[in-house]
C-alpha cells in the first residue's frame, strides 16, 4: 500500500506578458521614466566623442561640430533632451517621498523639499552656461 504523501499545491503565479507595460498609462509612464536612463548614457557617449575630438585638434573638432549639426543628431539630441528633463523632474519630485522630513512634529510639505532641488538645478545650470558661453 502506498504511503500517503501530503499534497502541497504550488502557488499559482501567472506568467506576465512581455508587453504588460503597454496595458495602462501609469505603467507606460513608469517604463518611460526608467528608459530616460538611456538618454543619460547617450549624453555620456556624445560627450566622450566630443572630448576626443577636442583632443585631436581644431580640424577634428570642426568635424565633430558638423556631425552635431546633422538633422539626425539634432533629432536624437532633442529627444534625449526631453528625456533628460523628464529624468530631472521625476528625480527631484521623488526626493520628498524618499525623505519624510518632520519639523516640530508636522511633516514638511513636499514642495519645500523638492524646491531646493529645483533652485540648485537653476543655479548650477546658470553657472555652467556662464562658464561655457563667456567664450
Amino acid at each position: 500500500m502506498a504511503v500517503p504523501v501530503e499534497y502541497v499545491p504550488k502557488t499559482f503565479r501567472p506568467r506576465l506578458s512581455t508587453y504588460w507595460w503597454l496595458g495602462r498609462w501609469p505603467y507606460l509612464r513608469f517604463i518611460l521614466r526608467e528608459l530616460s536612463s538611456v538618454s543619460v548614457a547617450w549624453f555620456v557617449v556624445v560627450t566622450l566623442v566630443q572630448i576626443r575630438a577636442l583632443k585631436r585638434g581644431p580640424a577634428s573638432y570642426l568635424a565633430f561640430q558638423g556631425w552635431m549639426r546633422h538633422p539626425v543628431l539634432i533629432v536624437l539630441n532633442a529627444i534625449a533632451f526631453f528625456f533628460v528633463i523628464f529624468h530631472a523632474v521625476t528625480w527631484f519630485n521623488l526626493a520628498p517621498k524618499a525623505m519624510a522630513v518632520r519639523l516640530g512634529g508636522k511633516r514638511v510639505p513636499s514642495l519645500m523639499i523638492a524646491l531646493p532641488n529645483y533652485v540648485a538645478w537653476a543655479v548650477v545650470s546658470a553657472g555652467v552656461a556662464w562658464i561655457l558661453l563667456r567664450g
Binding site: 506568467r15 506576465l16 506578458s17 512581455t18 504588460w20 507595460w21 517604463i31 526608467e34 528608459l35 536612463s37 538611456v38 543619460v40 548614457a41 549624453f43 555620456v44 557617449v45 556624445v46 560627450t47 566622450l48 566630443q50 572630448i51 576626443r52 577636442l54 583632443k55 581644431p58 573638432y61 570642426l62 561640430q65 552635431m68 549639426r69 543628431l73 539634432i74 539630441n77 532633442a78 534625449a80 533632451f81 533628460v84 528633463i85 529624468h87 530631472a88 528625480w91 527631484f92 532641488n117 540648485a120 538645478w121 548650477v124 545650470s125 555652467v128 552656461a129 562658464i131 561655457l132 558661453l133 567664450g135
Partner: protein, 105 residues
C-alpha cells in the same frame, strides 16, 4: 549609492550641457566657445574632474536602471548574466574610457 549619485549628477548637469552642446550651439541659437577657449577650459584640472564625474557616475545610474528595466520591462530576468555584463560592463568600459581621455588633455 552610485546609482543615486549618478542620478543627481544626471539631473543637475546633463540638461544644461545637452541643451547647449546638443541643441543651442549646433542650431546657432547661442554662440559656442571657440576651439581654443574650449580646449583651454577643458584642460583645467577642475574641468577634467568635472568631466570625469559627468561621464562616469551617470553611466552607473544608467547601468542599474536599465538592468532592472530589462528585468521588469521585458521580463527577461533569466538572462541576468548577459544583462549584468552588458550594463555594468558597459559602465565600467565607459568610465575607463573617460578617465583615459581626461588623464592627459
Amino acid at each position: 549609492m552610485l546609482f543615486s549619485a549618478g542620478g543627481v549628477v544626471a539631473a543637475l548637469l546633463i540638461p544644461i550641457q545637452l541643451f547647449l552642446f546638443g541643441l543651442a550651439i549646433p542650431l546657432g541659437w547661442l554662440p559656442g566657445p571657440t576651439y581654443a577657449s574650449l580646449l583651454a577650459l577643458a584642460a583645467h584640472p577642475l574641468a577634467r574632474l568635472y568631466l570625469l564625474v559627468l561621464c562616469t557616475l551617470p553611466l552607473f545610474h544608467w547601468a542599474h536602471r536599465f538592468r532592472y528595466t530589462l528585468y521588469d520591462g521585458l521580463q527577461i530576468k533569466h538572462l541576468n548574466e548577459l544583462i549584468n555584463t552588458f550594463c555594468y560592463g558597459g559602465a565600467i568600459v565607459g568610465s575607463i574610457l573617460a578617465a583615459y581621455l581626461l588623464w592627459r588633455m
